[in-house]
């Protein structure tokens, strides 16, 4: 087929470009699934403990809405319930990122024009993205199958779970292929595809929350619902797997049709004209930083609010959800809590929001480097904007944005957990406080990225995200893996008081804040002294 000329060479090029990113995605997702299966095996040893957990989940619409239906109380089914949907969503994200990166992002950057002028077919770039996404998802399915088999969850169910997750990733890769035709910018295309992913998740949630009621059919209406309908470890409905595969093929064919009807660089949604002059307020580095970050910040805050509300809504029933296993209770208590299982659960969730806020702050800090490496900082710094005011503006957005993200999470969790209890007002105050207590720790992690940006700019992207990954691993797996105390002490989140409910030293927060300030300041000082670009 001439429209696919050059496919093999370009796939090799793409695989080389993405070799680290692809391996990292597949590796992390595999670990997520397999380690959950492994830890469940230790936590729910007895039949009774699994039964109690399953009945707790099955009677709570909110938990079902979060992760989908639970079909039986086998170890495999519980593990699949716990991580299946989340991993399928992540696999969908992986598919979206891969496809957009090799289609619209390359087209927008002009690389596709250069490549397209060689003996390369019209559909080759699209095919490269889809093939790469398909391979990544196939490997992911295979590794999940192998890993879960090794853990001892049963071969049939492990294969079903792996394939359900992999085909979900494949379907959203195809959705991204259409989105890449529809929007003229990579950012817009990613937004469209992720919107479809979130909508599919919400439809699945509604179907799962309906229990055995009338809305059950919604599970069939959503590609994320299909993952749950495969019933891994609970009967393994193999024919369901044909649904995502067929849908992916149909959607990809649609993308190919759209691609053959449009010009290079063109889109179905024409770019709209904007203002001919800048708003009067756009006259300072801070105004620029706000303008560059406001859309993303709105997304993060809305996400934190919704996710916080969802997690808060199940806090009240957390006792029944965890079942009677003493192991679970000690695990949760070890994870953070000191009094009251519900508070312990909320405290753990707040640390996770601390990680989320750190991730947000790092993304804002690293925007400076992408502006510098992309030559957008140069004309800006050639105006009367000093390096210090440029960087300080961006750091201000990182700090203020983190406050908003944490505040939204605390507010959402406080509202829903308060409504199920009695006192909304005091619960909101408690959880707002608990969420904001994570701020200094989150800023320490982001401070590492800021310090590296000033002192060793070329390593700031890798270093910043590594710091976050390290904190996440210690926070989430440290207690379960029984890491030595000094290792756990590396993560700033280990020093945050367990709130709500627990006690802790406010002095630790002050120290963390001081360290964050010191890291930020060293970054600024480094930036003042080094070469730009």
């Amino acid at each position: 087929m001439s429209s696919l000329a050059g496919l093999r060479d370009l796939i090799r090029l793409a695989a080389r470009r993405d070799r680290i990113m692809l391996v990292a995605w597949v590796y992390v997702l595999t670990i997520l699934v397999v380690s959950t299966g492994y830890s469940f095996k230790g936590l729910y040893k007895t039949e009774a403990s699994r039964e109690a957990l399953a009945s707790g989940i099955g009677h709570n619409a909110a938990t079902l809405a979060l992760a989908g239906p639970l079909y039986n109380d086998s170890l495999g089914a519980l593990a699949a319930y716990k991580v299946g949907t989340a991993t399928a969503l992540a696999a969908g994200l992986m598919g979206i990122f891969i496809v957009i990166r090799h289609t619209r992002a390359d087209e927008e950057a002009g690389r596709l024009e250069l490549v397209g002028s060689t003996a390369v077919g019209r559909h080759t770039a699209l095919a490269v993205g889809l093939v790469l996404a398909a391979v990544a998802n196939a490997v992911l399915a295979l590794l999940i199958f192998a890993g879960c088999c090794v853990v001892g969850l049963g071969a049939g169910g492990s294969a079903a779970l792996g394939l359900a997750i992999g085909t979900c990733g494949l379907f959203f890769a195809a959705v991204a292929a259409v989105a890449a035709q529809v929007s003229a910018s990579a950012r817009g295309a990613r937004g469209i595809a992720i919107f479809v992913l979130v909508a599919a998740y919400l439809i699945m949630s509604a179907g799962a929350a309906a229990g055995h009621g009338g809305g059950r059919w919604l599970l069939w209406a959503s590609p994320v619902g299909w993952v749950t309908q495969v019933r891994a470890y609970a009967g393994d409905s193999w024919p369901v797997l044909a649904l995502p595969v067929a849908a992916a093929a149909a959607v990809a064919a649609g993308a190919a049709l759209l691609a053959s009807r449009r010009d290079l660089g063109a889109s179905l949604v024409p770019p709209r004209p904007g203002p001919a002059a800048a708003a009067g307020s756009l006259r300072s580095p801070l105004a620029l930083a706000w303008r560059l970050n406001r859309a993303a910040l709105a997304g993060w805050v809305a996400g934190a609010l919704v996710y916080g509300a969802a997690l808060g809504s199940i806090a009240h029933n957390i006792g029944s959800l965890l079942g009677s296993g003493a192991g679970v209770r000690t695990a949760i208590t070890r994870l953070g809590g000191q009094s009251g299982l519900s508070d312990a659960y909320l405290a753990t969730m707040m640390s996770i929001f601390g990680l989320v806020a750190a991730g947000y702050a790092i993304s804002v800090v690293l925007r400076m480097w992408s502006d510098e490496a992309g030559d957008r900082a140069e004309p800006l710094l050639a105006t009367a904007v000093s390096r210090l005011s440029w960087a300080a503006s961006q750091l201000f957005i990182a700090v203020a944005g983190s406050v908003l993200v944490l505040g939204a999470a605390g507010l959402g969790a406080g509202l829903t957990s308060g409504l199920r209890g009695a006192d909304v007002g005091s619960q909101v105050t408690r959880l707002l406080g608990a969420a904001l207590a994570q701020l200094p720790a989150a800023l320490v992690v982001a401070g590492v990225a800021a310090a590296l940006f000033g002192l060793l700019p070329r390593s700031c992207v890798a270093g910043g995200w590594t710091a976050l990954a390290l904190a996440a691993v210690i926070l989430l797996l440290g207690p379960t893996l029984r890491l030595a105390q000094w290792v756990q002490d590396i993560s700033p989140f280990s020093h945050v008081p367990k709130l709500p409910g627990g006690s802790g030293s406010p002095a630790a927060l002050a120290w963390l804040a001081l360290i964050a300030v010191a890291l930020g300041a060293s970054g600024l000082l480094g930036l003042r002294r080094r070469d730009i670009g």
Partner: protein, 324 residues
């Protein structure tokens, strides 16, 4: 005359790569100064040092009388910069970026902004991601030209512009000169530099190889001569400063034409050659001064050994050639 840019002995290395190796540059107030050099010779690095974005490893740099590294922010109120490769925030419109950069420099002339938009035929309502390279260049140019500043630093400002827009750019620079602004113009387009600049600095491999006024530079180089003569010339090959002499005997062709002479002559030895030629009865004479391109090629063709650093290239009006 005040020196707006005074650079001497400038050195800068990136790790083991030596980017600038004793560069000299002097730009006087109110002049349009051409800054020439092949790719990778250090033009952009020099400009980044002038903007205080890079810290130099050695040498002296003064911009508008101050140290560009220490006084960067204050100096940036007095200058506007157009990078050679303009990248813009993709979801800002051209108009927004023009205003933003102008305001951050400390203010711009709204009337001038409007007239420049018209002259360069730029649609300011389009998002930057939809602009072609030429249009992105126009955004940076309009913003710089409309700003109230004393000095313009332009790094290959017309790359990507079509010939009509290039002409519009030349008109604008002519006006700037009339308005007394100083312009440092780094360019590859020699005809543009020839048309706009009184003085040029030519660099190579991080060193200044020639600096001075175009007129003086021409004087030190060769003029090509082509003459038809009525009689056979005598002794041309013994004249000092004559090169590549080619005398064709045309007496067999009938008419008054007896010989055709082509040669190159060192411009300061032109007089002697012309005397000899007129003695032989000049029928027609074509004398071509060296183009900037020839000057340029002389320094770069063949990639010969890098000349030693220019010792003290002097200020305005003076001219020195560094022996290659």
């Amino acid at each position: 005359m005040t020196e707006v840019i005074a650079v001497s002995g400038l050195r800068k290395s990136y790790g083991k790569t030596l980017a600038l190796d004793g560069l000299e540059l002097s730009v006087a107030e109110g002049e349009v100064h051409g800054f020439l050099g092949p790719n990778g010779s250090g033009k952009t690095t020099t400009i980044r040092v002038l903007l205080g974005l890079l810290r130099c490893d050695g040498g002296a740099v003064r911009l508008l009388g101050e140290d560009p590294w220490r006084a960067a922010t204050a100096l940036h109120r007095r200058l506007a910069y157009v990078p050679g490769d303009v990248t813009l925030w993709p979801n800002f419109t051209g108009g927004e970026i023009i205003d933003l950069l102008g305001r951050l420099r400390g203010g711009m002339d709204a009337k001038r902004r409007a007239s420049l938009l018209e002259r360069f035929e730029l649609d300011p309502t389009k998002k930057a991601r939809t602009y072609s390279k030429g249009n992105r260049q126009k955004v940076a140019l309009i913003s710089a030209l409309a700003s109230d500043v004393e000095l313009l630093i332009l790094d290959e400002p017309t790359s990507g512009l079509d010939p009509l827009m290039e002409a519009a750019f030349r008109d604008c620079i002519e006006e700037e000169r009339g308005g007394g602004r100083t312009v440092l113009l780094s360019s590859h387009i020699l005809s543009e530099v020839e048309a706009l600049c009184e003085r040029v600095t030519i660099i190579r491999a991080g060193r200044t190889v020639q600096a001075g006024s175009l007129a003086d530079m021409r004087h030190l180089t060769r003029t090509s001569i082509s003459a038809d003569l009525a009689r056979q010339p005598a002794g041309l090959d013994r004249l000092p400063g004559v090169h590549d002499l080619d005398v064709q005997d045309m007496s067999g062709h009938g008419g008054r034409l007896a010989a055709r002479v082509r040669c190159e002559v060192d411009t300061d030895k032109l007089d002697g050659l012309l005397r000899q030629l007129t003695d032989a009865g000049v029928l027609s004479l074509v004398s071509q001064p060296p183009t900037l391109e020839e000057l340029f090629l002389r320094h770069y063709a063949g990639g010969g050994p890098v000349p030693p650093p220019a010792g003290g290239v002097a200020g305005a009006g003076n001219q020195q050639e560094v022996p290659a």
